[in-house]
């Protein structure tokens, strides 16, 4: 049973779901296997901020009981799910990786979480993240960094490094993330996993601790394109609690992924390569993997088209005005009055002093930097030049995308310009990290969907490289169809799925020891 038990964690969500449906495996066994795996490896990885083994097992037991009672359950009922700590949950604390929310208990579940629970998924734990999702490495978590299972001295990307690591290291088959400028896609690339940023409004933001309201989007994280699609189907759909939630009849993403994996879906597919997304300073191994995957696509009958998007060079600038501006307002609520940390300065002081002291101590350096920047961008006399102009750039980027999608079906780029870097090596010049987000940011500014999937490792460091696919708004299914086809080609090329190439954690540990 022990071997069987540890094998459970390497099943894909789709495989596990079918084993649960046929009652070969119980939800309790699945949950226990993941909890054991977390207990075994998370000391090294720190992907999780909170777990509640008793609660998770109790939830799994209820699924088993309902299944035994003959109740008709969702396709993923009984599958464990890791949840990024940006989503509020009633059964575990929700901190968004910030000290200011340490121990915070939400009286309600985020809609994505509620939908997952209703579908029978079992919350296995809350995952680590850059504080309030501000960062690309998960080093900005107030609770310490998460480590990349491919190399423990490397970052897993961010802000959703915890969710990406959890699925990469078999601590969970599925995870929820949030993507404001790449926080699902970039960690997926850096950990060799799959992640999707849905069309803005496709998944409710209710219960997602807000970073930048007009950019944030909740999305699925998994090891395979199909698993990602299955979770996407669970969380998508209109929610009356979110005024930006779309009323749209979404097609099944899982059906699209299944179609893509079997059919000749790449034949005739027009794939755009945007000049401006081929950044200077892209790591050679990343560039090589990207070009090799384009060649694979072309060999399958896809048409590769070079695209010009002249305003993309302004995307990072616009993003780093809009995000801090919205964040400076969204984070004003953390003031020590209704919830969260309270720091009372010496000699007590007025409520103004208490708020200022609390926010000084409760927020990390990057959060403070962005709040100050956003306050500046919105302040009297600067609004038009900064925030106002950034909103216009947003229009120009949408127009660039509209022109591009008049010529191509999807746009492809490396998800990130580099593979995972060593912990502690960035952080001198914040602008340098901001520029690294140039590939993922345009999709958030335009509200369009994006998917990252692994396409191999970089020759120079053996670390995973991600391919980003973008589609027009509402065409999320197109990404899953193409993504599943490419995933299939990569597996055929390598003789096994990419996730199966992840080093066992034992050797990753050795790699760290060698450093």
């Amino acid at each position: 049973m022990a071997a069987n038990h540890s094998q459970l964690v390497t099943l894909t969500a789709a495989e596990l779901a079918s084993a649960l449906q046929s009652r070969e495996v119980s939800a309790v066994e699945a949950a226990q296997a993941q909890l054991d795996r977390i207990a075994e490896v998370d000391g090294q990885l720190h992907a999780f901020l909170a777990t509640d083994p008793e609660g998770s097992i109790a939830a799994a037991r209820e699924i088993d009981a309902r299944r035994a009672a003959g109740e008709s359950l969702g396709e993923l009922a009984g599958v464990p799910l890791a949840i990024k700590d940006v989503l509020v949950t009633t059964d575990m604390p929700s901190t968004a990786g910030s000290r200011i929310l340490e121990g915070y208990r939400s009286p309600y579940d985020a809609t994505a979480v509620a939908k997952a629970r209703a579908a029978g998924l079992v919350n296995i734990g809350k995952t680590n993240m850059d504080e309030f999702a501000m960062g690309s490495s998960t080093e900005n978590s107030a609770y310490g960094p998460t480590r990349n299972p491919w190399a423990l001295d490397r970052v897993p990307g961010g802000s959703g490094g915890g969710s990406a690591t959890a699925v990469a290291a078999f601590e969970a088959p599925l995870a929820l993330g949030s993507d404001t400028g790449g926080s699902i896609r970039q960690p997926a690339a850096l950990t060799g996993t799959v992640g999707a940023k849905p069309t803005y409004g496709g998944v409710s933001r209710y219960g997602a601790i807000a970073l930048a309201s007009s950019l944030d989007q909740i999305g699925p994280v998994a090891r395979t394109v199909l698993d990602t699609a299955l979770l996407h189907d669970v969380i998508a759909g209109h929610d009356h609690h979110d005024s930006t939630s779309l009323r749209h009849e979404w097609p099944s993403m899982a059906a699209a992924a299944r179609e893509g994996a079997v059919g000749a879906s790449l034949k005739g597919l027009r794939v755009g390569v945007v000049k401006q997304l081929m950044l200077e300073g892209v790591q050679p191994g990343v560039k090589a993997r990207f070009e090799a995957s384009l060649a694979l696509l072309a060999a399958q009958g896809a048409e590769i088209v070079e695209i010009d998007a002249p305003h993309f060079e302004y995307a990072v600038a616009a993003y780093y005005l809009i995000l801090p501006a919205e964040a400076s307002s969204n984070l004003a609520k953390y003031d020590s009055v209704r919830f969260g940390l309270r720091i009372t300065p010496e000699g007590n002081g007025t409520v103004e002093n208490v708020m200022s002291a609390t926010r000084e101590v409760g927020f990390g350096a990057e959060v403070k930097r962005r709040i100050i920047l956003g306050t500046y961008a919105l302040s009297a006399g600067y609004y038009d030049a900064y925030y106002g102009s950034a909103q216009k750039v947003r229009t120009l980027i949408q127009r660039d995308f509209a022109q591009a999608f008049a010529q191509v079906d999807v746009i492809a780029s490396p998800t990130a310009p580099t593979t995972a870097w060593q912990i502690g090596t960035h952080g001198g010049d914040p602008m340098q990290d901001y520029l690294n987000d140039a590939t993922t940011i345009p999709a958030n500014l335009a509200g369009i969907p994006g998917l990252s999937l692994p396409i191999g490792t970089a020759e120079e460091d053996g670390l995973p490289v991600g391919l980003q696919l973008l589609a027009p708004a509402f065409e999320d299914a197109r990404l899953y169809r193409a993504g599943a086809a490419i995933e299939q080609l990569i597996a055929e090329r390598d003789g096994k799925p990419f996730w199966a190439q992840a080093p066992s954690l034992a050797s990753a540990t050795a790699g760290k020891a060698a450093n």
């Binding site: 100050i372 500046y376 102009s389």
Partner: protein, 106 residues
């Protein structure tokens, strides 16, 4: 606020102090120095948005435009008093307690 920033939009310590006051963060002198430098560098890189933001370009504040999203006037989602106060640092008589207030409401 124009007197607190330099002619080239350089961020001075005074600007950062003013912003920190608006944002209610009690920054340390070291942080003020660091942030002045960081912000200056960041703004140098992002100020270019105004190059292409001409008058004929409309602003986009919602990525996917939708209009007239409302809800019916019906009571729902009400918290119990216990839930409302559960996370409060300090409460008295069913209310949130704060120390004395310097300023006036606006």
């Amino acid at each position: 606020m124009s007197e607190t920033s330099g002619a080239n939009g350089e961020i001075t310590a005074q600007t950062v102090e003013h912003l920190a006051d608006l944002a209610r963060i009690a920054l340390t002198p070291d942080e003020i120095t660091t942030l002045s430098r960081d912000l200056d560098s960041i703004l140098h890189n992002i100020a270019k948005v105004s190059e292409v933001a001409s008058d004929d370009v409309p602003a986009t504040s919602h990525p996917i435009p939708i209009n007239n999203v409302t809800r019916p006037d019906e009571v729902a989602d009400v918290l119990t008093l216990e839930q409302a106060l559960e996370n409060a640092p300090e409460t008295t008589d069913g209310m949130f307690r704060v120390s004395s207030i310097l300023g006036e409401e606006q």
